[in-house]
């Protein structure tokens, strides 16, 4: 069970976009160069963010992506689910239906409406994971970064992004 590269890229891209002026668009090319990841592949993740309504893209020169709303209204869960999908981490294959000692009635009662005890526990953990991700917003990440990163680095990063507008 593992989150893949695009999720990490998407989160870092959102952090960059959140630090920009609200009306500014940043193209895929710059986001890819800034993070050192393949542009064409990163583009897929950004498209997923766009479809989820987290960012919006605009065409033509000076085009690119920007956030659709303020960083305090975008959670980690929004980004993760946009790229990774909303499917639960645990899939119940309804293994109960295979029990050799089931009557036809009991077998028919093994439905998604009555999830099995194992699945309920696993889904509870899934909810705890999502709740944790939902509790952190991009604005929180920005605040953390502003103390984690030296002022010099912050200035240089902003300058680099300005040059490539």
């Amino acid at each position: 069970m593992q989150l893949r590269g695009p999720v990490e890229w998407a989160l870092h891209c959102c952090a960059v976009l959140a630090g920009l002026a609200p009306d500014r668009y940043l193209p895929t090319r710059d986001l890819a160069d800034f993070h050192g990841v393949p542009k064409e592949y990163l583009s897929k993740a950004l498209q997923a963010l766009s479809q989820a309504g987290i960012v919006e893209g605009t065409l033509g020169p000076a085009g690119g992506y920007r956030l659709t709303r303020a960083p305090d209204r975008i959670t980690f869960l929004d980004v993760v689910e946009a790229v990774e999908g909303r499917a639960p981490t645990f899939v119940c294959t309804n293994i109960r239906r295979n029990f050799p000692c089931l009557t036809a009635t009991e077998k028919s009662q093994c439905t998604e409406a009555r999830p099995c005890a194992v699945a309920r526990v696993m889904w509870q953990a899934d909810r705890a994971w999502r709740d944790s991700l939902r509790s952190v917003r991009l604005s929180d990440l920005l605040k953390t970064l502003s103390t984690d990163l030296s002022p010099g680095l912050q200035r240089r990063a902003a300058a680099w992004l300005d040059e490539h507008s």
Copy 2:
């Protein structure tokens, strides 16, 4: 990001073993038949449980697997980590090191000892997931099953397992 079949099988197998008499061994063959899953492949999951010290196997006729300790001393997390591994769900590729505006000093400071802000949030969610799994024991699962399943089904399941001793 998805948990795979063997995890589900392992949990259900542990539930069965937990319901057995403490000194009784149940072979892979019966566990596979009872759950309707491929025996050879299930064997891999059981071996993982064995290596993790959750179950122990014994050879020869009347051999098989049994739990190494009481069901109230085995958590869901024990089982999940035994089969799925202990690797964190989010892997930080240290994307920071790719920033084009880093000095050599700053780049060298991007070490695992100082994880990046994004990874910290993802790992916090990972901990919430594991904490939730750790809070449920096999004994809790047994109790749930005893109320979920009809007395008749419980009796028939026990009888089926007895026949195949």
